[in-house]
Amino acid sequence: MKARTRWDAVCTVEDLVPESGIAVWTENGPVAVFYLPHRLPALFAISHTDPFSGANVLARGITGDLKGEPIVASPLYKQHFSLRTGVCLEDDTVSVKTYPVLLDGNRIRLEVQATQQQPQAA
């Protein structure tokens, strides 16, 4: 079956915090949305779940860049994750899922996998 995606509106510009992240709930689980106004692109979305602890906390990490790569540092054990690729800088065998994100007027939209299955022929 072909995977279907949808662009879901998850929040508005007013919900974002400049240079930091917020968490939203999607059909694919919790996602962290970061707004870095001094970069282009300025919006990033990655899974909110820290793979090292299993806790939903990545939106609460400190953002910045390391050697030019936009990153967030996990607030629990301080590993850095690329906001572009989701790869952990300290251990490239670990990564978090990234989500395409766009600004649609005042709304922030994420591209999520539709979990609703198509009716199948018996």
């Binding site: 919900d15 939203v24 870095l36 939903n56 910045g64 540092a73």
Partner: protein, 835 residues
């Protein structure tokens, strides 16, 4: 090609370590691996066996999990003992079946030696080896009052500890004239005996048991060869081990005269397809009864099976460092001075129960061995000298003297040879670190990634940094004091830039003096500097993204993403009304509640969105934030002082509350702790704090720069008999000088030690105002005290700030699905185990 079969007999610590090594090696693909274990449980940590009685379960002690075996395609057959080996057919036989092998590894370990004493088969006689043994001892201890351990060696004392933790009156009976005869000499044994008897364990030396018979006052009586006797309810034999070599013996493998499966340097027995490792193996006429040599054999054998022709076991260092019944004992190399011409240096403080002996070579240049009782802090340095053959300093005795009597500090990084082990978790030597530097690593972070050093327990972090700094400097690399890649400045330099240029935001600072967008190192540092300089609310829009999560949400994040809350309770004084409110709030939100070491109450398990609601209630009851999340003043601990105590000479609680209210909210390079004691009995433990105040008949004595934690340090006496005003002024100056000049994450102790001139210099600056900045420091502090605001009060009153506390901004009612709970001792705790 069909796979070969590797069978391992024995699932103890060494057998398990072998599997860990082998499973990740290339040869693992060529073999089906089958493991037979006699015990029902998976391999567990026998070294910490006595913890089983103090609450550890098999799961705590387990070395691996069933999942690990499954993931590595290892077939595990527990509770299925191997009965025989048929070397001609290359099979092993169990009660269930015959299994063919291509290669066979014997890791059968050892069994406890039970002396041939009449009556040793009594149902109340035990050995101390397996979890089953411990279960049997525990069952028998239920209706026992006393217990005897036969054997005063390492394991015997462990066993005595176990009996003690079961609530029994414990005795140790030793045949030799002293305890731990293998590791210790007469004086060391005597000191250890004194210490152990202080703990309530009775020691009987030079006793040979001749018979065990029914007792009169207890269940059993032990008769000794000297005509005396001892009555007890149960007996544990711990009189040494014997190699478990029965299978090898019966299958015709070569075994030693006194037991042990003979192996060569490749850990292979007299049959080229059968190998033996650990305590069952006899190498060079020696059995190794410690776990570390067994691990070395396991690594060697794994390399051998991978075709490494150079792999060889060539003996092992038997130096040990351990804590027996809470007493430090260490033994290094030739501890008994058996080398020809060896000479001794001894330090013996019977009062404190400290004994140290160095065995040095006849020319006095090398350390051959050492014995330590009572204080193992000397062990690491001595071991480096002995293992690496480093030349001893001229006054070698300083290595075992207490520091107050001219003892030498730890070995500097430069003096260590390349073979010196820096990180024992990942077995990284100084040579490995130098290699990484030569291969292009030029900073601590890179070296950690490359060598894995200091990524295990982290205990070697300071030593690693010393080695790296010293090696970089040697290579002419200027050791960068830059705080990170974004700012070519130290914290102190940034502080000056902010202060002098009146910079109020991170963006201004980085655009003028840095590059890039910042990171989790520089952002909180600058956030802290801005807070100290301008004292604006930390949730002001510009400052929010600078803070660690704990500062941003003004609570302490726990492993499952929830937070803990610590309201300020100045000086630890609290009204019953307020205490009731804490209880009510904790109950309403089902918060796990614990009293902290700083005389306050910690409430755990609040979700992000609950924080403002909870604080609304706490603030309504008169509470303020306790800054437990911040690099700032935590608590001022106090004893009850002269208002109640018969001995108190000043009102310590009153002073503590005053100090806590004065310095609360002050942002610093690291956390700051204080305490005030009402008399010299020092019940508030002020000498372990950054700022410690002890009352005298004439006023206050001030101590500075102490701390607890990983590297405890007593505070230094700074000034005596100060009046209230003098005390406050002095603390103002010390604290503000610290806040302005210390490095990021530097506690006051390290800061002071790094000041050129140390304590004396600090006294000059603060007490004599040698820099002429005293008034300025006081004025700066006064400004901060005057602009204090409770961050939580400001946050709950501001709807914009409250918005930050939404767990999911688009689903306010959604509960975080990973926050699962379980109940322990009547309170809630996280069930999340993946951390």
């Amino acid at each position: 090609m069909s796979k070969k079969t590797l069978i391992v007999i024995g699932n103890g610590m060494v057998g398990h370590h072998f599997l860990e090594q082998f499973a990740t090696s290339p040869a693992a693909k060529e073999y089906e691996v089958v493991v037979f274990g006699e015990e029902k449980q998976l391999a567990y940590d026998r070294v910490h066996l006595s913890e089983y009685f103090s609450g550890s379960t098999h799961a705590d002690l387990a070395m691996g999990t069933a999942d690990w075996y499954a993931d590595n395609h290892i077939t595990l057959k527990l509770g299925e003992p191997v009965l025989a080996i048929d070397r001609d057919r290359k099979t092993v036989t169990t009660p269930a079946s015959d299994y063919p092998y291509d290669e066979l590894v014997l890791a059968t370990g050892s069994y406890p030696f039970v002396p041939p004493i009449e009556g040793n088969d009594n149902e109340r006689c035990f050995v101390y080896r397996t979890l089953d043994d411990l279960d049997a001892i525990r069952a028998s201890a239920n209706d026992a009052r006393t217990g005897v351990v036969v054997g005063g060696g390492l394991l015997g004392l462990e066993a005595a500890n176990a009996l003690k933790s079961l609530g029994l009156e414990a005795h140790v009976v030793e045949f030799a004239p002293r305890l731990m005869p293998v590791q210790l000499d007469t004086d060391g044994g005597a000191v250890l005996r004194g210490k152990i008897e202080e703990l309530g364990v009775r020691v009987h030396t030079e006793k040979a048991t001749t018979a065990i018979v029914d007792g009169e006052t207890a269940r059993l009586r032990m008769n000794f060869s000297d005509g005396e006797f001892l009555e007890t309810d149960l007996i544990v034999f711990s009189a040494g081990i014997r190699p478990q070599d029965t299978l090898a013996r019966e299958s015709g493998l070569e075994v030693g005269e006194r037991g042990g499966i003979v192996v060569n340097n490749q850990c292979t027995t007299s049959d080229p397809h059968i190998h033996a490792i650990g305590e069952c193996a006899l190498w060079n006429q020696r059995i190794f009864g410690l776990v570390a040599p067994g691990y070395t054999m396991a690594r060697t054998l794994s390399a051998v099976l991978n075709g490494d022709r150079d792999a060889a076991f060539t003996g092992a260092d038997m130096s040990t460092k351990l804590k027996l019944l809470g007493v430090d004992v260490g033994s290094i190399g030739d501890a008994h001075g058996q080398t020809a011409g060896a000479r001794n240096i001894r330090y013996n403080d019977e009062q404190a129960g400290h004994y140290r002996r160095m065995v040095v070579s006849s020319d006095g240049k090398k350390l051959l061995g050492a014995i330590l009782v009572g204080d193992n802090s000397y062990y690491d340095t001595l071991l480096q000298y002995a293992l690496n053959g480093i030349d001893l300093p001229e006054n070698a005795e300083s290595l075992i003297l207490p520091e107050s009597q001219g003892g030498a500090p730890a070995l500097g990084a430069d003096a260590l040879p390349d073979t010196a082990s820096i990180c024992s978790c990942h077995n990284v030597t100084k040579g490995d670190i130098c290699g990484a530097i030569d291969a292009g690593c030029s900073d601590l972070g890179g070296i950690k990634v490359e060598t894995k050093a200091s990524t295990g327990c982290g205990g070697c972090a300071a030593l690693l940094k010393n080695v790296v700094d010293s090696e970089l400097e040697k290579r002419g690399v200027e050791v960068s004091k830059d705080i990170c890649e974004h700012f070519p400045y130290s914290r102190q330099e940034l502080f000056h830039l902010v202060k002098v240029n009146g910079i109020r935001t991170f963006r201004t600072l980085i655009s003028q003096y840095g590059k890039g967008h910042g990171c989790d190192i520089c952002k909180p540092t600058v956030g802290s500097i801005l807070a100290t300089c301008w004292n604006e609310h930390i949730l002001a829009t510009d400052h929010v993204p600078l803070q660690d999560t704990n500062d941003t949400f003004m609570a302490n994040m726990q492993k499952n993403g929830t937070y803990s809350i610590v309201p300020r309770i100045p000086g630890g004084e609290i009204t019953p009304e307020k205490l009731i409110v804490l209880g009510q709030v904790a109950k309403e939100y089902d918060l796990y509640t614990k009293i902290t070491g700083g005389q306050r109450v910690d409430l755990f398990g609040a979700t992000l969105s609950q924080l403002p609601e909870i604080w609304e209630k706490l603030i309504a009851a008169g509470f303020e934030t306790g800054h437990a999340y911040g690099k700032s003043l935590r608590t001022v601990k106090s004893c009850v002082g002269s208002t109640w105590c018969r001995y108190g000479v000043q009102d310590s609680v009153g002073m503590a509350i005053f100090l806590e209210n004065r310095y609360k909210g002050l942002r610093a390079p690291h956390k700051v702790k204080m305490a005030v004691s009402g008399c010299t009995r020092e019940c508030a433990e002020a000498q372990s704090k950054d700022i410690g105040v002890i009352a005298t008949e004439n006023g206050w004595n001030l101590y500075v720069c102490g701390n607890g934690g990983m590297r405890p340090r007593h505070a230094d006496l700074f000034a005596t008999d100060l009046s209230d005003e003098e005390l406050i002024r002095t603390i103002d100056r010390v604290l503000m000088f610290y806040v302005r000049t210390a490095d990021r994450l530097q506690r006051t102790s390290v800061w002071m030690e790094n000041l050129e001139g140390g304590l004396d210099y600090l006294k000059e600056v603060v007490l004599e105002d040698s820099l002429g900045i005293g008034a300025e420091l006081e004025e700066h502090m006064e400004g901060i005290v005057g602009t204090y605001q409770c961050e939580w009060k400001a946050a709950v009153e501001d709807p914009e700030k409250r918005k930050r506390f939404r767990e999911f901004v688009n689903a306010p009612e959604k509960a975080d699905p990973v926050q699962q709970w379980t109940t322990e001792r009547d309170q809630r705790r996280p069930a999340l185990e993946s951390a």
